[in-house]
Protein backbone atom coordinates (compact mmCIF):
# COMPACT_ATOMS: atom_id res chain seq x y z
CA UNK A 1 0.00 0.00 0.00
CA UNK A 2 1.35 3.44 -0.95
CA UNK A 3 1.27 6.39 1.44
CA UNK A 4 1.42 10.07 0.67
CA UNK A 5 1.64 9.77 -3.11
CA UNK A 6 0.14 12.71 -4.98
CA UNK A 7 -0.01 12.53 -8.74
CA UNK A 8 -2.18 13.86 -11.53
CA UNK A 9 -2.47 12.19 -14.91
CA UNK A 10 -3.95 14.47 -17.57
CA UNK A 11 -6.38 13.45 -20.28
CA UNK A 12 -4.78 12.07 -23.42
CA UNK A 13 -1.19 12.05 -22.19
CA UNK A 14 1.21 9.15 -21.94
CA UNK A 15 3.04 9.13 -18.61
CA UNK A 16 5.91 6.82 -17.78
CA UNK A 17 6.78 5.73 -14.26
CA UNK A 18 10.41 4.76 -14.04
CA UNK A 19 12.43 3.52 -11.08
CA UNK A 20 14.14 0.49 -9.66
CA UNK A 21 12.46 -2.75 -8.63
CA UNK A 22 10.46 -2.53 -5.43
CA UNK A 23 10.01 1.25 -5.48
CA UNK A 24 6.23 0.95 -5.82
CA UNK A 25 5.62 1.55 -9.54
CA UNK A 26 3.41 -1.48 -10.00
CA UNK A 27 1.59 -0.78 -6.73
CA UNK A 28 0.88 2.75 -7.93
CA UNK A 29 -0.49 1.39 -11.20
CA UNK A 30 -2.66 -1.16 -9.37
CA UNK A 31 -3.87 1.61 -7.06
CA UNK A 32 -4.97 3.67 -10.08
CA UNK A 33 -6.76 0.56 -11.40
CA UNK A 34 -8.58 0.18 -8.09
CA UNK A 35 -7.01 -3.21 -7.44
CA UNK A 36 -5.13 -1.93 -4.36
CA UNK A 37 -6.49 0.60 -1.85
CA UNK A 38 -4.48 3.76 -1.19
CA UNK A 39 -3.67 4.68 2.41
CA UNK A 40 -3.12 8.40 1.89
CA UNK A 41 -2.30 10.90 -0.84
CA UNK A 42 -4.27 11.91 -3.87
CA UNK A 43 -4.20 10.19 -7.22
CA UNK A 44 -6.12 11.91 -9.95
CA UNK A 45 -6.57 10.56 -13.45
CA UNK A 46 -8.40 12.24 -16.26
CA UNK A 47 -10.87 11.00 -17.37
CA UNK A 48 -11.91 9.19 -14.21
CA UNK A 49 -12.43 5.66 -15.50
CA UNK A 50 -13.29 2.27 -14.13
CA UNK A 51 -12.60 -1.24 -15.41
CA UNK A 52 -16.31 -2.08 -15.41
CA UNK A 53 -17.54 -1.29 -18.87
CA UNK A 54 -14.01 -1.38 -20.26
CA UNK A 55 -13.26 2.36 -19.85
CA UNK A 56 -10.05 1.43 -18.06
CA UNK A 57 -7.81 -1.39 -19.24
CA UNK A 58 -4.71 -3.00 -17.77
CA UNK A 59 -1.84 -4.70 -19.59
CA UNK A 60 0.12 -7.01 -17.29
CA UNK A 61 3.83 -7.76 -17.46
CA UNK A 62 3.00 -11.29 -18.60
CA UNK A 63 0.45 -11.58 -21.44
CA UNK A 64 -1.96 -13.29 -18.97
CA UNK A 65 -3.87 -14.95 -21.80
CA UNK A 66 -6.23 -17.82 -21.10
CA UNK A 67 -4.52 -20.92 -22.55
CA UNK A 68 -7.79 -22.65 -23.52
CA UNK A 69 -8.88 -19.70 -25.67
CA UNK A 70 -7.52 -18.86 -29.12
CA UNK A 71 -6.05 -15.41 -29.80
CA UNK A 72 -9.34 -14.02 -31.08
CA UNK A 73 -11.31 -15.62 -28.23
CA UNK A 74 -8.90 -14.08 -25.70
CA UNK A 75 -9.52 -10.64 -27.15
CA UNK A 76 -13.28 -11.26 -27.25
CA UNK A 77 -13.17 -12.00 -23.51
CA UNK A 78 -12.96 -8.27 -22.66
CA UNK A 79 -16.02 -7.56 -24.77
CA UNK A 80 -17.91 -10.48 -23.23
CA UNK A 81 -17.03 -9.42 -19.67
CA UNK A 82 -17.77 -5.74 -20.18
CA UNK A 83 -20.58 -5.99 -22.75
CA UNK A 84 -23.29 -6.77 -20.25
CA UNK A 85 -22.37 -3.75 -18.15
CA UNK A 86 -22.26 -1.47 -21.21
CA UNK A 87 -25.52 -2.40 -22.87
CA UNK A 88 -27.40 -4.32 -20.20
CA UNK A 89 -28.01 -6.98 -22.85
CA UNK A 90 -24.59 -8.44 -23.39
CA UNK A 91 -22.78 -8.87 -26.69
CA UNK A 92 -23.35 -11.86 -28.94
CA UNK A 93 -20.40 -14.21 -29.40
CA UNK A 94 -20.32 -13.64 -33.16
CA UNK A 95 -20.20 -9.86 -32.74
CA UNK A 96 -17.56 -10.11 -30.00
CA UNK A 97 -15.38 -12.31 -32.21
CA UNK A 98 -15.77 -9.96 -35.20
CA UNK A 99 -14.71 -6.96 -33.11
CA UNK A 100 -11.84 -8.96 -31.62
CA UNK A 101 -10.63 -9.90 -35.11
CA UNK A 102 -10.70 -6.22 -36.18
CA UNK A 103 -8.63 -5.29 -33.13
CA UNK A 104 -6.10 -8.05 -33.79
CA UNK A 105 -5.76 -6.79 -37.37
CA UNK A 106 -5.10 -3.29 -36.00
CA UNK A 107 -2.43 -4.81 -33.76
CA UNK A 108 -0.84 -6.27 -36.92
CA UNK A 109 -1.13 -9.88 -35.79
CA UNK A 110 -0.95 -12.19 -38.83
CA UNK A 111 -4.44 -13.46 -39.70
CA UNK A 112 -3.37 -17.12 -39.48
CA UNK A 113 -2.54 -16.56 -35.79
CA UNK A 114 -6.10 -15.49 -34.90
CA UNK A 115 -7.20 -19.08 -34.36
CA UNK A 116 -4.05 -20.21 -32.59
CA UNK A 117 -3.73 -20.90 -28.88
CA UNK A 118 -1.28 -18.84 -26.78
CA UNK A 119 1.20 -21.74 -26.59
CA UNK A 120 1.48 -21.64 -30.38
CA UNK A 121 2.46 -17.95 -30.47
CA UNK A 122 5.79 -16.17 -29.99
CA UNK A 123 6.30 -13.85 -27.01
CA UNK A 124 5.79 -10.76 -29.20
CA UNK A 125 2.58 -12.17 -30.70
CA UNK A 126 1.19 -12.98 -27.25
CA UNK A 127 1.83 -9.41 -26.14
CA UNK A 128 0.05 -8.10 -29.27
CA UNK A 129 -2.96 -10.22 -28.29
CA UNK A 130 -2.73 -8.92 -24.72
CA UNK A 131 -2.63 -5.30 -25.98
CA UNK A 132 -5.54 -6.01 -28.33
CA UNK A 133 -7.55 -7.42 -25.41
CA UNK A 134 -6.95 -4.18 -23.52
CA UNK A 135 -7.69 -1.85 -26.46
CA UNK A 136 -10.71 -3.64 -27.93
CA UNK A 137 -13.12 -1.99 -25.46
CA UNK A 138 -11.77 1.42 -26.55
CA UNK A 139 -10.63 2.42 -23.05
CA UNK A 140 -10.09 6.07 -22.17
CA UNK A 141 -7.37 5.02 -19.70
CA UNK A 142 -4.74 2.36 -20.42
CA UNK A 143 -2.41 1.12 -17.67
CA UNK A 144 0.68 -0.81 -18.75
CA UNK A 145 2.86 -2.70 -16.27
CA UNK A 146 6.21 -3.28 -18.01
CA UNK A 147 4.45 -4.95 -20.93
CA UNK A 148 7.55 -5.19 -23.11
CA UNK A 149 10.05 -6.21 -20.40
CA UNK A 150 10.27 -9.86 -21.45
CA UNK A 151 10.66 -9.11 -25.17
CA UNK A 152 13.77 -8.79 -27.33
CA UNK A 153 14.80 -5.32 -28.55
CA UNK A 154 13.23 -5.79 -32.00
CA UNK A 155 9.82 -6.79 -30.64
CA UNK A 156 10.01 -4.15 -27.92
CA UNK A 157 10.66 -1.40 -30.49
CA UNK A 158 7.94 -2.65 -32.85
CA UNK A 159 5.32 -2.83 -30.08
CA UNK A 160 6.30 0.62 -28.77
CA UNK A 161 5.83 2.07 -32.27
CA UNK A 162 2.52 0.26 -32.63
CA UNK A 163 1.29 1.63 -29.30
CA UNK A 164 2.17 5.16 -30.45
CA UNK A 165 0.33 4.67 -33.75
CA UNK A 166 -2.76 3.48 -31.85
CA UNK A 167 -2.50 6.53 -29.59
CA UNK A 168 -2.12 8.83 -32.62
CA UNK A 169 -5.28 7.34 -34.14
CA UNK A 170 -7.35 7.65 -30.94
CA UNK A 171 -5.60 9.39 -28.03
CA UNK A 172 -6.13 7.90 -24.58
CA UNK A 173 -4.56 8.51 -21.19
CA UNK A 174 -1.79 5.96 -20.63
CA UNK A 175 0.39 5.21 -17.62
CA UNK A 176 3.38 3.04 -18.46
CA UNK A 177 5.60 1.38 -15.88
CA UNK A 178 9.03 0.66 -17.31
CA UNK A 179 12.67 0.09 -16.40
CA UNK A 180 13.83 1.23 -19.79
CA UNK A 181 14.77 4.94 -20.07
CA UNK A 182 14.84 4.96 -23.88
CA UNK A 183 11.34 3.47 -23.97
CA UNK A 184 10.04 6.05 -21.49
CA UNK A 185 11.62 8.94 -23.43
CA UNK A 186 10.31 7.69 -26.77
CA UNK A 187 6.70 7.03 -25.73
CA UNK A 188 5.87 9.64 -23.08
CA UNK A 189 4.63 13.19 -22.62
CA UNK A 190 5.87 13.18 -19.02
CA UNK A 191 8.21 10.93 -17.06
CA UNK A 192 7.98 10.42 -13.31
CA UNK A 193 11.03 9.05 -11.53
CA UNK A 194 10.05 7.02 -8.49
CA UNK A 195 12.01 6.23 -5.35
CA UNK A 196 10.87 3.93 -2.58
CA UNK A 197 7.16 4.76 -2.29
CA UNK A 198 7.85 8.36 -3.42
CA UNK A 199 7.21 10.08 -6.71
CA UNK A 200 9.24 13.03 -8.05
CA UNK A 201 8.15 16.00 -10.15
CA UNK A 202 7.46 14.93 -13.70
CA UNK A 203 10.05 15.54 -16.40
CA UNK A 204 8.32 16.97 -19.44
CA UNK A 205 9.14 15.16 -22.65
CA UNK A 206 9.07 17.86 -25.36
CA UNK A 207 10.28 15.73 -28.25
CA UNK A 208 8.28 16.31 -31.45
CA UNK A 209 5.64 13.86 -32.61
CA UNK A 210 5.34 11.54 -34.41
CA UNK A 211 8.26 9.85 -32.66
CA UNK A 212 9.89 8.29 -35.68
CA UNK A 213 13.49 7.21 -36.30
CA UNK A 214 14.67 10.83 -36.80
CA UNK A 215 13.51 11.68 -33.26
CA UNK A 216 15.17 8.58 -31.83
CA UNK A 217 18.61 9.53 -33.21
CA UNK A 218 18.30 13.27 -32.45
CA UNK A 219 20.48 15.09 -29.92
CA UNK A 220 17.34 16.18 -28.01
CA UNK A 221 16.49 12.53 -27.43
CA UNK A 222 19.98 12.02 -26.02
CA UNK A 223 19.66 15.12 -23.78
CA UNK A 224 16.35 13.95 -22.35
CA UNK A 225 17.74 10.47 -21.83
CA UNK A 226 20.60 12.04 -19.87
CA UNK A 227 18.22 14.10 -17.70
CA UNK A 228 16.14 11.06 -16.75
CA UNK A 229 19.28 9.04 -16.09
CA UNK A 230 20.68 11.84 -13.88
CA UNK A 231 17.40 12.04 -11.95
CA UNK A 232 17.52 8.30 -11.33
CA UNK A 233 21.11 8.63 -10.04
CA UNK A 234 20.06 11.51 -7.79
CA UNK A 235 17.25 9.46 -6.30
CA UNK A 236 19.71 6.63 -5.73
CA UNK A 237 22.26 8.95 -4.13
CA UNK A 238 19.61 10.21 -1.71
CA UNK A 239 19.22 6.63 -0.61
CA UNK A 240 15.57 6.64 -1.51
CA UNK A 241 16.01 3.55 -3.62
CA UNK A 242 18.72 1.36 -5.06
CA UNK A 243 18.60 2.42 -8.65
CA UNK A 244 20.05 0.06 -11.18
CA UNK A 245 22.57 1.79 -13.41
CA UNK A 246 21.74 2.30 -17.04
CA UNK A 247 22.89 -0.22 -19.60
CA UNK A 248 26.19 0.71 -21.24
CA UNK A 249 25.86 2.54 -24.51
CA UNK A 250 23.07 4.87 -23.48
CA UNK A 251 20.10 5.49 -25.70
CA UNK A 252 19.60 3.69 -28.98
Amino acid sequence: MLRGIDATFRAGEIVSLIGSSGCGKTTLLRTIAGLVPTASGELSIDPPARGRGGELAFVFQQPTLLPWRTSVENVALSIQLTGLQLTGLGVGKREALARAADELSAMELPREAFGRFPRELSGGMRMRVSLARALVTRPSVLLLDEPFAALDDMSRGALGDLLLRRWDARPFTAVLVTHNIAEAVLLSHRIFVMGRGQIGAGIIDELPRPRDESVRVSSRFGELYGRVSAELRRVAAEGVADVAMMPAGGPR
Partner: protein, 259 residues
Protein backbone atom coordinates in the same frame (compact mmCIF):
# COMPACT_ATOMS: atom_id res chain seq x y z
CA UNK B 1 4.09 -41.05 -17.28
CA UNK B 2 3.64 -39.06 -20.48
CA UNK B 3 5.90 -41.12 -22.73
CA UNK B 4 4.44 -41.89 -26.14
CA UNK B 5 3.41 -45.54 -26.47
CA UNK B 6 4.67 -47.26 -29.64
CA UNK B 7 5.19 -50.92 -30.59
CA UNK B 8 8.83 -50.59 -29.53
CA UNK B 9 7.97 -49.21 -26.08
CA UNK B 10 5.51 -52.13 -25.59
CA UNK B 11 8.30 -54.73 -26.01
CA UNK B 12 9.55 -54.59 -22.35
CA UNK B 13 5.96 -54.94 -21.08
CA UNK B 14 5.31 -57.98 -23.29
CA UNK B 15 8.65 -59.55 -22.33
CA UNK B 16 7.86 -59.05 -18.62
CA UNK B 17 4.43 -60.68 -19.06
CA UNK B 18 6.03 -63.67 -20.83
CA UNK B 19 8.57 -64.03 -18.01
CA UNK B 20 5.72 -63.91 -15.45
CA UNK B 21 3.75 -66.61 -17.30
CA UNK B 22 6.82 -68.88 -17.51
CA UNK B 23 7.52 -68.36 -13.77
CA UNK B 24 3.85 -69.14 -13.00
CA UNK B 25 3.95 -72.41 -14.98
CA UNK B 26 7.36 -73.30 -13.50
CA UNK B 27 6.01 -72.79 -9.94
CA UNK B 28 3.22 -75.31 -10.68
CA UNK B 29 5.69 -77.89 -12.07
CA UNK B 30 8.31 -77.44 -9.38
CA UNK B 31 5.88 -77.14 -6.45
CA UNK B 32 3.53 -79.80 -7.85
CA UNK B 33 0.60 -77.46 -6.94
CA UNK B 34 -2.99 -78.76 -7.36
CA UNK B 35 -5.20 -76.83 -9.86
CA UNK B 36 -7.57 -75.74 -7.11
CA UNK B 37 -4.68 -73.83 -5.48
CA UNK B 38 -3.03 -72.52 -8.64
CA UNK B 39 -4.31 -73.50 -12.08
CA UNK B 40 -1.94 -73.22 -15.03
CA UNK B 41 -2.13 -70.18 -17.35
CA UNK B 42 -3.45 -72.52 -20.04
CA UNK B 43 -6.24 -73.77 -17.70
CA UNK B 44 -7.22 -70.18 -16.91
CA UNK B 45 -7.30 -69.34 -20.62
CA UNK B 46 -9.39 -72.45 -21.40
CA UNK B 47 -11.80 -71.69 -18.55
CA UNK B 48 -12.12 -68.09 -19.73
CA UNK B 49 -12.94 -69.25 -23.27
CA UNK B 50 -15.52 -71.79 -22.05
CA UNK B 51 -17.20 -69.17 -19.84
CA UNK B 52 -16.81 -66.36 -22.36
CA UNK B 53 -20.52 -65.58 -22.61
CA UNK B 54 -20.98 -65.47 -18.82
CA UNK B 55 -17.82 -63.42 -18.38
CA UNK B 56 -18.81 -61.01 -21.16
CA UNK B 57 -22.24 -60.46 -19.62
CA UNK B 58 -20.66 -60.04 -16.19
CA UNK B 59 -18.15 -57.54 -17.59
CA UNK B 60 -21.01 -55.60 -19.22
CA UNK B 61 -22.93 -55.41 -15.92
CA UNK B 62 -19.85 -54.45 -13.88
CA UNK B 63 -18.71 -52.04 -16.59
CA UNK B 64 -22.11 -50.34 -16.68
CA UNK B 65 -22.13 -49.97 -12.87
CA UNK B 66 -18.54 -48.69 -12.85
CA UNK B 67 -19.27 -46.22 -15.66
CA UNK B 68 -22.48 -44.98 -14.01
CA UNK B 69 -20.71 -44.53 -10.65
CA UNK B 70 -17.72 -42.88 -12.32
CA UNK B 71 -19.96 -40.49 -14.29
CA UNK B 72 -21.90 -39.66 -11.13
CA UNK B 73 -18.62 -38.99 -9.30
CA UNK B 74 -17.59 -36.56 -12.07
CA UNK B 75 -20.83 -34.61 -11.74
CA UNK B 76 -21.18 -34.72 -7.93
CA UNK B 77 -17.42 -34.17 -7.37
CA UNK B 78 -17.27 -31.18 -9.72
CA UNK B 79 -20.37 -29.58 -8.20
CA UNK B 80 -19.06 -30.08 -4.65
CA UNK B 81 -15.64 -28.71 -5.65
CA UNK B 82 -17.30 -25.67 -7.29
CA UNK B 83 -19.20 -25.08 -4.07
CA UNK B 84 -16.07 -25.44 -1.95
CA UNK B 85 -14.13 -23.05 -4.19
CA UNK B 86 -16.56 -20.25 -3.40
CA UNK B 87 -16.03 -19.96 0.33
CA UNK B 88 -13.28 -20.76 2.80
CA UNK B 89 -15.90 -21.48 5.44
CA UNK B 90 -17.54 -24.07 3.19
CA UNK B 91 -14.15 -25.65 2.51
CA UNK B 92 -13.39 -25.84 6.21
CA UNK B 93 -16.81 -27.35 6.90
CA UNK B 94 -16.86 -29.88 4.07
CA UNK B 95 -13.27 -30.99 3.68
CA UNK B 96 -13.11 -33.25 6.76
CA UNK B 97 -16.06 -35.21 5.32
CA UNK B 98 -14.38 -35.36 1.94
CA UNK B 99 -11.31 -36.88 3.64
CA UNK B 100 -13.65 -39.29 5.41
CA UNK B 101 -14.68 -40.59 1.98
CA UNK B 102 -11.07 -41.48 1.34
CA UNK B 103 -10.25 -42.97 4.75
CA UNK B 104 -13.31 -45.09 5.58
CA UNK B 105 -12.67 -48.57 4.12
CA UNK B 106 -15.13 -49.26 1.32
CA UNK B 107 -15.50 -52.93 2.35
CA UNK B 108 -16.90 -51.68 5.68
CA UNK B 109 -19.47 -49.38 4.04
CA UNK B 110 -20.60 -51.74 1.29
CA UNK B 111 -22.58 -54.17 3.56
CA UNK B 112 -24.34 -51.20 5.18
CA UNK B 113 -25.30 -49.74 1.80
CA UNK B 114 -26.61 -53.14 0.72
CA UNK B 115 -28.88 -53.16 3.81
CA UNK B 116 -30.12 -49.66 3.06
CA UNK B 117 -30.35 -49.78 -0.71
CA UNK B 118 -30.93 -53.51 -1.41
CA UNK B 119 -29.26 -56.16 -3.54
CA UNK B 120 -29.55 -53.93 -6.57
CA UNK B 121 -27.59 -52.37 -9.40
CA UNK B 122 -28.08 -48.95 -7.77
CA UNK B 123 -26.19 -50.12 -4.65
CA UNK B 124 -23.17 -51.04 -6.77
CA UNK B 125 -23.35 -47.64 -8.46
CA UNK B 126 -23.53 -45.95 -5.05
CA UNK B 127 -20.45 -47.77 -3.72
CA UNK B 128 -18.62 -46.92 -6.97
CA UNK B 129 -19.61 -43.28 -6.61
CA UNK B 130 -18.31 -43.12 -3.04
CA UNK B 131 -14.94 -44.68 -3.86
CA UNK B 132 -14.43 -42.51 -7.00
CA UNK B 133 -15.47 -39.22 -5.46
CA UNK B 134 -12.40 -38.16 -3.47
CA UNK B 135 -9.87 -37.79 -6.34
CA UNK B 136 -12.39 -35.71 -8.29
CA UNK B 137 -13.24 -33.35 -5.42
CA UNK B 138 -9.63 -33.01 -4.35
CA UNK B 139 -8.18 -32.32 -7.80
CA UNK B 140 -10.98 -30.10 -9.07
CA UNK B 141 -10.98 -27.97 -5.90
CA UNK B 142 -7.23 -27.54 -6.28
CA UNK B 143 -7.67 -26.57 -9.94
CA UNK B 144 -10.47 -24.10 -9.20
CA UNK B 145 -8.34 -22.35 -6.59
CA UNK B 146 -4.95 -22.42 -8.36
CA UNK B 147 -5.61 -19.35 -10.53
CA UNK B 148 -2.80 -16.86 -11.12
CA UNK B 149 -3.41 -13.55 -9.30
CA UNK B 150 -3.04 -11.58 -12.56
CA UNK B 151 -5.86 -13.54 -14.20
CA UNK B 152 -8.08 -12.99 -11.18
CA UNK B 153 -7.20 -9.28 -11.25
CA UNK B 154 -8.13 -9.12 -14.93
CA UNK B 155 -11.60 -10.47 -14.16
CA UNK B 156 -11.92 -8.25 -11.07
CA UNK B 157 -10.89 -5.18 -13.09
CA UNK B 158 -13.63 -5.80 -15.65
CA UNK B 159 -16.17 -6.21 -12.85
CA UNK B 160 -16.83 -9.87 -13.63
CA UNK B 161 -19.38 -11.44 -11.31
CA UNK B 162 -18.57 -14.42 -9.10
CA UNK B 163 -20.49 -16.63 -11.52
CA UNK B 164 -18.63 -15.26 -14.60
CA UNK B 165 -15.29 -15.77 -12.85
CA UNK B 166 -16.27 -19.33 -11.99
CA UNK B 167 -17.64 -20.17 -15.43
CA UNK B 168 -15.17 -18.36 -17.67
CA UNK B 169 -11.98 -18.66 -15.59
CA UNK B 170 -11.99 -21.15 -12.72
CA UNK B 171 -13.87 -24.02 -14.40
CA UNK B 172 -11.84 -24.04 -17.65
CA UNK B 173 -8.62 -23.72 -15.64
CA UNK B 174 -9.63 -26.76 -13.56
CA UNK B 175 -10.32 -29.04 -16.53
CA UNK B 176 -6.78 -30.46 -16.62
CA UNK B 177 -7.05 -31.12 -12.86
CA UNK B 178 -10.40 -32.82 -13.45
CA UNK B 179 -8.78 -35.13 -16.00
CA UNK B 180 -6.02 -35.97 -13.52
CA UNK B 181 -8.62 -36.89 -10.88
CA UNK B 182 -10.69 -38.78 -13.47
CA UNK B 183 -7.71 -40.98 -14.37
CA UNK B 184 -7.36 -42.07 -10.73
CA UNK B 185 -11.12 -42.42 -10.26
CA UNK B 186 -11.61 -44.53 -13.38
CA UNK B 187 -9.42 -47.30 -11.91
CA UNK B 188 -11.08 -46.99 -8.51
CA UNK B 189 -14.56 -47.20 -10.08
CA UNK B 190 -13.98 -50.78 -11.30
CA UNK B 191 -12.57 -51.76 -7.87
CA UNK B 192 -15.61 -50.19 -6.15
CA UNK B 193 -18.06 -51.98 -8.46
CA UNK B 194 -16.46 -55.39 -7.90
CA UNK B 195 -16.24 -54.92 -4.10
CA UNK B 196 -19.92 -53.93 -4.02
CA UNK B 197 -20.81 -56.97 -6.13
CA UNK B 198 -19.17 -59.27 -3.57
CA UNK B 199 -21.92 -58.20 -1.16
CA UNK B 200 -24.79 -57.70 -3.61
CA UNK B 201 -24.30 -61.25 -4.93
CA UNK B 202 -24.89 -62.73 -1.48
CA UNK B 203 -28.56 -61.82 -1.46
CA UNK B 204 -29.56 -64.41 -4.04
CA UNK B 205 -30.62 -61.65 -6.50
CA UNK B 206 -30.39 -62.07 -10.25
CA UNK B 207 -27.54 -59.56 -10.35
CA UNK B 208 -24.56 -61.14 -12.12
CA UNK B 209 -21.57 -58.85 -12.28
CA UNK B 210 -17.95 -59.99 -12.27
CA UNK B 211 -17.81 -59.64 -8.45
CA UNK B 212 -20.83 -61.88 -7.91
CA UNK B 213 -19.45 -64.44 -10.37
CA UNK B 214 -16.13 -64.42 -8.52
CA UNK B 215 -17.69 -65.08 -5.09
CA UNK B 216 -19.79 -67.88 -6.60
CA UNK B 217 -16.81 -69.57 -8.28
CA UNK B 218 -14.73 -69.16 -5.14
CA UNK B 219 -17.27 -71.08 -3.06
CA UNK B 220 -17.38 -73.82 -5.74
CA UNK B 221 -13.57 -74.10 -5.84
CA UNK B 222 -13.43 -73.05 -9.53
CA UNK B 223 -10.09 -71.31 -9.20
CA UNK B 224 -9.39 -71.21 -12.96
CA UNK B 225 -12.74 -69.48 -13.62
CA UNK B 226 -12.07 -67.12 -10.71
CA UNK B 227 -8.72 -66.16 -12.18
CA UNK B 228 -10.27 -65.71 -15.62
CA UNK B 229 -12.79 -63.29 -14.06
CA UNK B 230 -9.89 -61.50 -12.38
CA UNK B 231 -8.20 -61.05 -15.77
CA UNK B 232 -11.43 -59.71 -17.29
CA UNK B 233 -11.92 -57.24 -14.40
CA UNK B 234 -8.32 -56.06 -14.86
CA UNK B 235 -8.98 -55.57 -18.56
CA UNK B 236 -12.11 -53.60 -17.67
CA UNK B 237 -10.07 -51.29 -15.41
CA UNK B 238 -7.47 -50.80 -18.14
CA UNK B 239 -10.20 -50.00 -20.68
CA UNK B 240 -11.73 -47.40 -18.36
CA UNK B 241 -8.31 -45.82 -17.75
CA UNK B 242 -7.45 -45.78 -21.46
CA UNK B 243 -10.85 -44.25 -22.27
CA UNK B 244 -10.24 -41.38 -19.86
CA UNK B 245 -6.71 -40.99 -21.19
CA UNK B 246 -8.04 -40.80 -24.74
CA UNK B 247 -10.51 -38.09 -23.78
CA UNK B 248 -7.67 -36.21 -22.05
CA UNK B 249 -5.35 -36.42 -25.02
CA UNK B 250 -7.73 -35.72 -27.87
CA UNK B 251 -10.94 -33.93 -26.97
CA UNK B 252 -9.39 -31.66 -24.36
CA UNK B 253 -6.17 -30.81 -26.16
CA UNK B 254 -6.63 -27.09 -25.76
CA UNK B 255 -6.45 -27.39 -21.98
CA UNK B 256 -3.25 -29.37 -21.90
CA UNK B 257 -0.65 -26.61 -22.03
CA UNK B 258 -0.35 -23.26 -20.35
CA UNK B 259 1.15 -20.13 -21.79
Amino acid sequence: MNEKVTWVTLVPTVVLAAVGLIAWQAAIWIGDLPPILLPSPWAVLRSGWELRTTLFRGACVTGAAALAGFAASLVVGTLLAALMSQSRMLRLALFPYVILLQTVPIVAIAPLLVIWSGYEFRTVVLVTLIISLFPIINNVTEGLLAISPDRLDLFRLYGASRWETLWRLRVPAAVSHLMLGARTSSGLAVIGAIVAEFFVGNGGSSYNGLGTLMTGWQSLGKTAALMAALCVSTLLGIMMFCGVQWVSNTLLKRWMAND
